[in-house]
Amino acid sequence: MMTLAIAIPLIAAFLAAIRKSWGYILYAIAAILNFILSLSLIGAVPSIHALGGWKPPFGINLVLDNASFYAILFINAIFLIVAVFPDIIGKYATVMLVLMAAVNGFVLTGDLFNSFVFMEIISAAAVIIASKRENYYSAFKYLIFAGIAGSLYLIAVIFVYTQTGSLNMAQAAYFSFSQKSLVAITTLFLIGLGVEAKLFPLNGWVMGVYGGNDLAPVILSTAVTFSAMYMMGRLMITIFGGGVLQVLYVLALITMLAGELAALYQKNLLKTLAYSSIGQAGLVLAVLSKGKEPFTSLAYFQLMNEVTAKLVLFLVAGYLVYKYTNLNGIFKSHKVLGTAFSIASFSLVGFPLFAGFQSKLRIIMEAFKGGDYLLPALLLLATLIELTYLIRWNVRLWFEDQVEEGEKGSWRHGFVAIALAIFLVVIFFFPNIYLAPASKMADAITSVSGYINIVTSGLGGM
């Protein structure tokens, strides 16, 4: 059943290749079907699907445990939300379909080489999406980055193959690598995944791609980042047992600060938000790289909060940046968009009454309990810098005297943005909406034996 999550968008993509005009309708149908399918999968959570009938270590298998279930649920929800905006998608519907299939595949697959293939599809599709609105040069830079990362990832997969004898993740998880090989493999995987997860020195492309057009940030910074973080957790914690977590921790902290500082310097709204998403990714990675139980669930909780807030921010920013040249006081004629934007930015900063508060304070509390005095200090410093530029933008968008005449806003953007914003406020009052799935995800990722049992018990059927 879970393969349908990949098959449906693929068929839709091929059909769309036949008739270009059907593109958007097919995308909408595929998104709805996929979302319903992922909802219906809740029954079959701990199960695997051996493709082509071949048992896991030989054939490729899809693993559906708590982690991947909630991941695809969240990702398909994002695709569904993006489906509401035909004007943003335009003629990129087929590419979006392929991206949806690839992201679902990337999350579900239990095979290392297969994850490499899906990662390549994601980066190819992302390059095309990034090239929207003549953003070719940044798309090309992203292609170069993804190319290098892909080859390093492939070398790492081959290293694993030569060691374990098969490409299966469960086998790699069970296999006890020698110290030297573990170092080699995890370093290469870290760099391979680092580009997609916007790790510090590898995130040069983010400014160009996210800042370049209005579709790329909405889909890339939310769905693709989520899958990259999921995969980082899966690889670094479940399979290779935290070989490189300390290094990841240091790099993630630098990412957090660098992202925030660079955002402070930016003049363009989209570019500022792009850098702030680097900062946020740095925070999530830093907390994820702790590896232990309370932190991983908090990392995913923060990731979910951040992705929802980012979705709203990029929707509003993408819509406005390409409608007006001078943005001063533009929220006066787009009140609904403005309120949604402000609520999302306050949630990012972590003011009470908004979702970010719940996750950031829990992170600080757990960090203190774990005896780590550095992370809260850097987190608060980063939040302070983030507060500066977000408040600067909010004040500029709300209170500066309007330069351009504001036309009537599109109801779609307004409705979705304000719905998500209210959802953020609801999460503040009932954090378990996000916290329960996050902790289930974290359990599934941190328990290596659980993962292996799912794969081995799944064999029972054959």
Binding site: Y137, F140, A146
Partner: protein, 114 residues
């Protein structure tokens, strides 16, 4: 031995990426790195004195050291096609970049702000 070749090829690819000013040359050095990796994959699957893993009338049955490891070859097939795909995309983008920024040299490309 073949490992050495692939690694040196990778080194050349990286050197190319680092020094080349022209974008197309960078794309080519990326392709070099891809081929280097493919060579590496094939080398990982080589069995001393093994033949191509195809059953024919002359080689009907499985012998201990007869065949080379078929799995890396399957993987390399996919890796090559991925390399082609990425290369095609890169080329297309560069056509557009040349159009928009008038030349492909990194230093003096017009219209590339901060």
């Amino acid at each position: 031995m073949v490992y050495w070749i692939s690694i040196i090829l990778m080194g050349i690819g990286i050197y190319g990426l680092l020094t080349q000013k022209n974008l197309f040359k960078q794309l080519i050095s990326l392709a070099i790195i891809d081929t280097a990796v493919n060579v590496f994959i094939i080398a990982a699957g080589y069995v001393e004195g093994g033949k191509a893993p195809i059953y024919t009338k002359a080689l009907p049955s499985f012998l201990k050291g007869a065949f080379v490891d078929p799995l890396p070859q399957a993987l390399v097939l996919t890796a090559i096609v991925i390399g082609v795909g990425v290369l095609a995309l890169g080329a297309a983008l560069l056509v557009r970049v040349k159009e928009k920024h008038k030349n492909l040299d990194v230093e003096n490309m017009k219209g590339v702000g901060e």
